[in-house]
C-alpha cells in the first residue's frame, strides 16, 4: 500500500471521527470494509495479504480509533488461514465476521445509550461539548421516546463539527442554547451536569476526546458540575495516552504583516479523575469504581 494511499485513508477516518464520533466511524468503517470485500477482485493467494494490509493501515491511523482497532484485531484472529477454501468462500466468511463485528458495536453502543438514559432527569440543564454518537442519540431518545423535558447547552466549536449535533437536537425538539465553547464561564451556573464522549480511554487513566474538552472538563470539575463520560468498553485501550497517535498539524498562516506556524492537535487528553461517572454497556460506574473497572481483565 502506497504511503499516499495510507495518508488518504488516515485523513478520511480522522475527518469522519471529527464530525460524527468514534462509535459511528467504527460502524461506518466496518460497513466500508464489507463493501470493499464484496467489490475486490483478487486470487485466493492475494486475499489474505490484502486483508492484512488494510487492517494494518486501519490500525495505524492518526489518531488511533481504538474501538475500530479492537474489532479489526478480532477479525484478524477469526479469519485465520484457509488454504482449501475458494475466493468466494473466503470473502463470504470475512463478510460474516465483519457483520458480526458491526452488530457487536451497535449492541454495545445501544446498551450505553440505554444506561445513559437513566442519567437524564426532568429539568436538567446539560452541557454538551463533544460530538458523540452515544450522547446525541441518548438525548434524542430521552426527548422523543421518554418525553423528558430538559435543556442542552451546546458548546459550539467549528460549525462543521457542531452542525450535525445542532440539527439532530433541533429535529428532536430539544430546548437548547448554543454558545461558543470559550463562553462557558458565563453559563456554568445554569448547567447541572456535563455529558461527554471519548475516542478512547487509555491505561494511564486518560480520556482521549475532542479538542477543547480538556478546558471544558477542567472548568466544570472546578465548578463541581458532575461530568458523565459515555464510552463502551471497546474504547478501552491497552496502551498509554502518548501512544494514541494524536494527530499534530503544522500550518503556515499569514495574518496581515504577521506570518507564523500554527500547531494544532486533533484531540485533547483529559485526566480521568475529573470524570465523575463512566457510563458503559455494563452500567454506570461512579468515580470510586472507575479505575478498578477499567483495569479489570476483559475477554
Amino acid at each position: 500500500m502506497k504511503t499516499e494511499d495510507k495518508e488518504i485513508l488516515c485523513s478520511l477516518i480522522r475527518d469522519h471521527e471529527d464530525t460524527i464520533g468514534s462509535s459511528r466511524v467504527t460502524m461506518m468503517a466496518i460497513k466500508a470494509f464489507i463493501e470493499s470485500i464484496k467489490q475486490v477482485r483478487c486470487s485466493v493467494e492475494e486475499v489474505r495479504e490484502l486483508y492484512l494490509e488494510l487492517s494494518e493501515a486501519i490500525k495505524n491511523t492518526e489518531p488511533k480509533v481504538i474501538p475500530l482497532i479492537h474489532l479489526i484485531e478480532e477479525f484478524e484472529k477469526e479469519i485465520g488461514e484457509a488454504p482449501d477454501e475458494s475466493i468466494d468462500q473466503i470473502k463470504d466468511k470475512a463478510i460474516q465476521i465483519l457483520e458480526a463485528k458491526h452488530h457487536k458495536i451497535i449492541t454495545k453502543t445501544g446498551k450505553v445509550i440505554e444506561h445513559g438514559l437513566t442519567c437524564i432527569s426532568e429539568g436538567d440543564v446539560i452541557i454538551v461539548h463533544t460530538i458523540s454518537y452515544d450522547v446525541t442519540n441518548m438525548l434524542k431518545l430521552a426527548r422523543e421516546t421518554l418525553q423528558k423535558t430538559f435543556k442542552v447547552i451546546v458548546l459550539k466549536q467549528d460549525l462543521a463539527k457542531t452542525r450535525r449535533l445542532i440539527k439532530s437536537l433541533s429535529a428532536a425538539g430539544i430546548d437548547m442554547e448554543i454558545i461558543p465553547e470559550y463562553s462557558l464561564s458565563h453559563y456554568i451556573e445554569q448547567g447541572n451536569k456535563v455529558f461527554m464522549g471519548a475516542l478512547s480511554i487509555t491505561d494511564d487513566m486518560k480520556v482521549i476526546s475532542a479538542i477543547g474538552s480538556a478546558n471544558i472538563v477542567s472548568l466544570c470539575h472546578l465548578s463541581n458540575l458532575p461530568v458523565y463520560l459515555f464510552a463502551n468498553t471497546l474504547k478501552f485501550s491497552h496502551r498509554h495516552s502518548s501512544q494514541q497517535r494524536i494527530h499534530r498539524k503544522v500550518e503556515s498562516k499569514t495574518h496581515g504583516d504577521v506570518s507564523f506556524q500554527l500547531i494544532t492537535h486533533s484531540h485533547d487528553t483529559v485526566d480521568l479523575k475529573h470524570v465523575d461517572f463512566l457510563v458503559t454497556e455494563d452500567g454506570i460506574k461512579d468515580k470510586a469504581a472507575i479505575s478498578e473497572f477499567i483495569k479489570a481483565p476483559r475477554s
Binding site: 494511499d5 495510507k6 469522519h16 494490509e53
Partner: protein, 434 residues
C-alpha cells in the same frame, strides 16, 4: 455610413474592456451605451427598441427556474447519486459525471451545472489520490459541448434562437447528432491521452475501502440539508412542463421566453418561496450586459457598420456555400475561444442575416454553423466560456490551481476535434440539402 466613427470606437473600447476584464461586463456594455446616448448618437427610445426582450425573458425565466431547482437540492442529489454509482472507478467518474454534466448543461445552464459538479468531483478525485485537474477541465469542456445541443443550453443558442426565431425542436433535431459525436470524441480523447490514470481500482482493497468512506463524507457534505420532497417534486414537474412547452412550441405558438417566464412565475407561486431571496440569485449583471450589447450592436447595425463588415469581410469569401458555412463555423470557433462568445454572437447575427440575403443557404445551416462555432469554440481557452472561468475559479477555491496552459493542453485539441466533426456534419448536411 455617416457618424460611424464614434460608435465603432465605443464598441471596440467595450470589447477591449470585456476581453481584458477591465471592468464588470455589464458596466462596460452600459457605459458604452451611455456614452453614445450622451453624444446623441442614438436616442433613448431608439436604444430601447434595439433590446431583444425575447432573449432577456428567456434568460430571466431560466435563471429563476434554475435558482429554485438549486434551492430544492435537486443538483446535489443527482451529483451525489452519480458519485455513488461510480464506486470510485476513475473511468466511471469521467463517463458518468460527463453524461450528467452534458444533460444538465443542455437543459439548464452550464454555469450552474459546473458550480454543482466541480466541488463533488474534486472531493471525490482528490480524496482518492487522483488528479482533480483533469476532471475539472473535462467537465468544463463537456458542459460547453452539452450546452450546444439545445436552444436553452448556452447563451449563444438562446440569442440565435430568440433573434432568428428558431425553435427548441429545430435546435434539438439539428444539433443533437453532432453534439453526441463531439461528446463521445472528447471523452475518447481524454481517455486515450490519460490511459494510465484510468486504471480500475477493483484489485486494490484499501482504495475500495477509502472510496466507501469518501462516499460517506460526500453524502454528509453535500446531502446534509433536508430535502423537501414536495418542493423538489414541484420544481421537477415545472421543469418538465417547460421542456414540454419548448418542444411543442410550434403547436402552442408560445415563444421560449414566454414559456420560461411563465414556468418561473408558476414556480414562484406554487413553491411559495421567498421571492426576494430568489431574485438575489438572478444574475442581473448578465441580463444588463445582454441589454447593453443589444443596444451597441443595434446602433452599429443602424449606422451600416454591420453591413459593411458583412460585405467587406465575410462576403469576400465568395459565394460557394461550403466555404461560407466553414468560414462562419471556424471564425466563430476561433474568435469565441478568445473573446466572450455572447457579444460575438450578437454581433454576428446581423452579419449572418446579410450573408443569407446574398447567398441563401437551406435548412438554417449557416445558423447551425454559428451556433456550433460559438458554443464549441468557447472550449479553446479557459477564458472562452463562462463555464470554464467558473470551473477554474471553483478548482482554485478547493486548492487546485489550473493555469491557462494546463487548460489549453487539453482544450485546444478537443476544440479542434469538435470543430472538425462539426465541419464534417455541416458539409454533409449541406450536400444533402443542396
Amino acid at each position: 455610413m455617416e457618424g460611424v466613427l464614434v460608435p465603432i470606437v465605443v464598441f471596440l473600447a467595450v470589447y477591449v474592456a470585456l476581453t481584458f476584464e477591465l471592468v464588470n461586463k455589464a458596466v462596460a456594455a452600459l457605459l458604452g451605451v451611455m456614452i453614445l446616448l450622451v453624444l446623441h448618437v442614438v436616442s433613448e427610445h431608439q436604444a430601447v427598441e434595439f433590446i431583444d426582450f425575447e432573449t432577456i425573458m428567456l434568460l430571466l425565466g431560466m435563471m429563476s427556474i434554475v435558482a429554485i431547482l438549486r434551492k430544492s437540492g435537486f443538483f446535489s442529489i443527482v451529483s451525489v447519486r452519480i458519485a455513488e454509482l461510480t464506486q470510485g472507478s476513475p473511468l466511471k467518474i469521467l463517463i458518468l459525471f460527463s453524461i450528467v454534466t452534458a444533460v444538465l448543461s443542455a437543459f439548464l445552464d452550464n454555469v450552474t451545472t459546473v458550480l454543482i459538479i466541480i466541488p463533488i468531483i474534486i472531493e471525490l478525485t482528490a480524496g482518492m489520490g487522483l488528479d482533480p485537474k483533469m476532471y475539472v477541465i473535462s467537465q468544463a469542456i463537456i458542459s460547453n459541448i452539452g450546452g450546444t445541443a439545445t436552444l436553452i443550453g448556452d447563451p449563444p443558442n438562446i440569442i440565435i434562437g430568440s433573434k432568428v426565431g428558431l425553435t427548441f425542436n429545430q435546435f434539438m433535431l439539428n444539433l443533437t447528432l453532432p453534439v453526441l459525436v463531439c461528446f463521445a470524441a472528447a471523452l475518447v480523447y481524454i481517455w486515450a491521452t490519460n490511459r494510465d490514470k484510468f486504471k480500475p481500482i477493483d484489485t486494490n482493497l484499501a482504495k475500495l475501502f477509502s472510496v466507501q468512506l469518501l462516499l460517506e463524507k460526500i453524502r454528509y457534505q453535500f446531502l446534509d440539508t433536508k430535502i423537501d420532497k414536495i418542493f423538489l417534486t414541484k420544481g421537477l414537474v415545472c421543469l418538465g412542463l417547460a421542456i414540454v412547452l419548448f418542444v411543442t412550441q410550434t403547436i402552442t405558438k408560445l415563444s421560449p421566453g414566454v414559456v420560461a417566464m411563465l414556468v418561473a412565475m408558476i414556480l414562484f407561486v406554487i413553491t411559495r418561496i421567498d421571492v426576494e431571496e430568489m431574485l438575489e440569485e438572478i444574475e442581473w449583471s448578465t441580463l444588463l450586459f445582454f441589454t447593453g450589447l443589444f443596444i451597441l450592436v443595434g446602433i452599429l447595425e443602424q449606422k451600416g457598420v454591420i453591413e459593411w463588415m458583412a460585405h467587406n469581410i465575410f462576403l469576400r469569401v465568395g459565394d460557394n456555400p461550403y466555404v461560407i458555412v466553414l468560414t462562419v463555423l471556424w471564425v466563430s470557433g476561433i474568435v469565441s475561444g478568445f473573446l466572450d462568445n455572447i457579444p460575438f454572437t450578437i454581433t454576428m447575427i446581423p452579419i449572418v442575416k446579410l450573408m443569407l440575403e446574398s447567398n441563401p443557404i437551406p435548412n438554417n445551416i449557416l445558423w447551425w454553423a454559428l451556433s456550433l462555432g460559438a458554443c464549441l469554440g468557447g472550449n479553446l481557452t479557459m477564458i472562452g466560456a463562462s463555464a470554464n472561468i467558473v470551473s477554474i475559479g471553483m478548482a482554485k477555491k478547493f486548492g487546485q490551481e489550473i493555469s491557462f496552459l494546463d487548460f489549453a493542453r487539453k482544450s485546444v485539441v478537443i476544440t479542434l476535434i469538435t470543430l472538425v466533426i462539426a465541419s464534417g456534419y455541416l458539409m454533409l448536411y449541406l450536400w444533402i440539402s443542396l
